[in-house]
């Protein structure tokens, strides 16, 4: 039910509001006063357009830069809404109107009316959403508005010839279209699904191949693990073959034996030197003798001087005698030559005696020094021998410490035995290593081959996995397609049945309803039957007077056709409604006074909706209902 309508800048209205009551409201006024404009404003508010108006600009008041309508109404859900719609010229534009709408719910709380936004173009809501919302809360769509809610005087009777829009308004076209499109979509899905069996077979094949590949890979991996273990064992054996820790011990022992051997040679050399040296006792005796002789020589030091003096006198006397000197050079006295010669002989005899007992002290000293040196050297040699013996003992001890435990034989024998044993072991190890290496190489080759095969298997498995994933996706996709095709077929069948039911029932029920309404509004019950052709919705009537069925548009006069047309429209209201309101624009035009009065008095009694707004410019009687007089001047 519309409770309030505000019209601004809309055709002849500058800004005017109207309040409406429930039930029937008669809107009257002179021609061109703006009665119909109120209905156009309601139509504009609900749809954004007006049938017959080329654009919103055609609805613009010549003095206004924008038009707007505010409609306060109660919907079928019992809630009150305020619908505002405007079209305005933006700044600097001359011909392009920009539209806005807002739908709010009015909620009364503790005596205050609150406005709650439902939809608004300012919030990017679209006309589609608004149209759907309005259809939801009023049951009025564009098509329904044109056929049944906004009933225009000039169009009332035209419906008797049928109207292709009725199929749409009654939902028959929608059901048919839905059926067709569901079938078309189902067909598309079914065509796509045709390849499903082949794909499922491929999937099964790939799954089987994946299973085999997995088993093969597991077997190969198991073999690989076993081979790796064998390789590890062989590597350990090789490491063991390379482990010549005894060589180090043997080398240390050989070095110790070499040191011992050097010590032994040193001792031999020292002992040989000692053996070649003079006897120590003899040397000590000689030193004693020489020391004693030297002491004696010291006691004969006066004889030595005498001997030197004798030798000097002998040399001088022999020189003088040889020279024939007969006088003394110092005193000049004559020399007795004979005597001189006799003295010379004596002197020579004494000298000979002295020299016979004379001792050579220098020689003694030299000899003693030599002997003492020899003795010292001998002592040192003995010490060296002792040292060499100690060194030899230490070297032997060190070498034996490095010898294998339990071996007590001669060191050189031990060394030889050990070296021979070690060489034998080395040969054995080399042989073992050669055998192990051969095995290891064979294992390595097998490992490489096996790894290559596993890699190949994995690559093949990867390809199979990818193919499997692709097939799973595709098969699942097609299975969903198949399920959707099934749903589409079910929906198509439902829509087809709906279409048939609607079509079958619509004509019959509309005709019955129309006849009832016609009887209620008509003064004379002149028709025995009304039927509607289900294909074209052409109305056929059977007058009681003739009993012959004929098209309503041919059998009746203008007033009667108007009444039948109105009955048809109101039958549509009953079928497509309930609506919160119905707008009747001069439904009495062309009726005689009798019929007009009857219609105005009876129409609200039909109970078709909560509110009927009825425009008339003819004189009103005492009909029950509210009245709004449109003056034709803007407020």
């Amino acid at each position: 039910m519309i409770s309030r309508l505000r019209v601004k800048g809309f055709r002849r209205y500058v800004d005017q509001s109207f309040d409406f009551a429930p039930g029937i409201t008669f809107i009257d006024g002179r021609n061109n006063a703006g009665k119909t404009t109120l209905f156009l404003a309601i139509e504009y508010a609900l749809t954004g357009t007006v049938t017959g108006a080329r654009s919103q600009a055609a609805l613009l008041n010549p003095d206004a830069k924008g038009l707007g309508v505010e409609l306060v109404f109660t919907g079928r859900d019992g809630r009150t809404y305020k619908l505002q719609r405007v079209h305005q010229l933006p700044p600097r534009a001359k011909s392009r109107l920009i539209g806005h709408f807002t739908l709010k719910e009015l909620v009364t709380r503790e005596g205050t009316v609150e406005e709650r936004y439902v939809l608004s173009s300012d919030f990017q809501d679209h006309e589609e959403a608004l149209a759907k919302k309005l259809a939801d809360i009023t049951g009025i769509s564009r098509r329904v508005l044109d056929l049944a809610v906004h009933i225009r005087q000039g169009e009332i009777a035209s419906i008797l010839e049928g109207d292709p829009r009725l199929d749409i308004a009654l939902g028959i076209t929608a059901a048919g279209t839905s059926n067709e499109e569901m079938r078309a979509l189902a067909l598309e899905d079914e065509r796509a699904v045709e390849s499903l069996p082949a794909l499922e077979a491929s999937l099964q094949h790939v799954e089987k191949a994946r299973g085999t590949a997995s088993t093969d890979e597991a077997g190969l991996t198991s073999k690989l693990d076993a081979l790796k273990k064998e390789a590890a064992t062989l590597d350990a054996a090789l490491a063991k073959a390379d482990d010549d820790s005894e060589a180090e011990a043997l080398e240390a022992f050989t070095a110790a034996v070499d040191e011992w051997r050097t010590a032994r040679d040193d001792l031999s050399r020292e002992e040989a030197a000692l053996a070649e040296s003079p006897d120590a006792d003899a040397l000590e005796k000689e030193v004693s003798t020489l020391t004693a002789a030297l002491k004696v020589a010291e006691t004969k030091k006066g004889e030595t001087e005498l001997r030197f003096d004798l030798k000097a006198r002998i040399r001088r006397r022999e020189t003088l005698i040889a020279a024939g000197v007969t006088t003394c050079e110092s005193c000049g006295s004559s020399i007795d030559v004979t005597r001189a010669k006799a003295e010379l002989v004596t002197w020579k005899s004494d000298l000979a005696t002295l020299e016979a007992t004379a001792v050579d002290e220098g020689a003694l000293k030299t000899e003693l020094a030599e002997k003492q040196a020899e003795l010292k050297s001998l002592t040192q040699l003995r010490k060296a021998v002792d040292g060499a013996k100690k060194a030899l003992a230490a070297a032997e001890k060190a070498a034996r410490a490095l010898a294998p435990k339990g071996d007590t034989g001669p060191l050189e024998d031990l060394e030889t035995t050990w070296q021979e044993r070690h060489e034998k072991q080395q040969l054995e190890r080399a042989a073992t290593r050669a055998r192990t290496e051969t095995k290891r190489e064979a294992v390595a080759t097998t490992l490489e081959e096996l790894e290559a095969r596993i890699e190949e298997e994995r690559s093949r498995s990867g390809e199979l996995d990818r193919e499997h994933a692709r097939l799973i996706d595709e098969v699942e996709n097609l299975r969903r397609c198949r399920r959707r095709a099934d749903d589409l077929r079910i929906l198509a069948t439902a829509f087809k049945t709906l279409q048939e039911e609607l079509r079958t029932r619509a004509a019959t029920e509309l005709a019955e309803s129309m006849h009832t309404i016609h009887r209620a509004l008509s003064v004379d019950d002149e028709l025995s039957a009304i039927s509607i052709d289900a294909a074209r919705y052409q109305v056929l009537v059977t007058p009681k007077a003739t009993g012959q069925e004929l098209p309503a548009s041919l059998s009746q006069g203008g007033g009667h056709r108007l009444l039948l047309g109105l009955a048809f429209r109101l039958a549509l209201v009953k079928r497509l409604g309930p609506f919160p309101f119905v707008l009747l624009d001069e439904p009495t035009y062309g009726l005689d006074e009798r019929h007009r009065t009857a219609l105005l008095q009876r129409i609200s009694g039909l109970g078709l909706c909560d509110q009927l707004l009825l425009i008339t410019h003819q004189a009103m009687g005492d009909e029950n209902g509210a009245r709004i007089h449109v003056e034709g001047t803007a407020a």
Binding site: A58, S95, E188, C481, L488
Partner: protein
């Protein structure tokens, strides 16, 4: 439109009865019917014979597939149909 406001012979009520065995499809069917009605409500989307035109049918199919879910179709991805109203009006 909620069921409270449906007339006894309303399309949604009939669809609910027809799809009693598939209650999951009732809302889809109702929404599709409403959408078809919405599309048919615009004269510009009608052919001369009063049927829904090609673009309207494509919009309807697109909505149907959206509501039903399931795999996308190649042609669905390629199309970019303008399903929006233009509330600007040229004089």
């Amino acid at each position: 439109m909620s069921d409270d406001h449906l007339p006894a012979h309303g399309p949604r009520e009939v669809l609910a009865r027809l799809l009693e065995a598939r209650p999951d499809l009732v809302e889809v069917a109702g929404s599709l019917f409403d959408y078809a009605q919405y599309l048919l409500d615009d004269d510009q989307r009608l052919t001369k014979s009063g049927a829904l035109d090609g673009q309207g049918r494509e919009l309807f199919k697109k909505r149907a597939l959206e509501l039903l879910g399931g795999p996308e179709r190649k042609d669905d991805q390629d199309e970019d149909l303008d399903d929006e109203e233009d509330d600007e009006v040229d004089e």
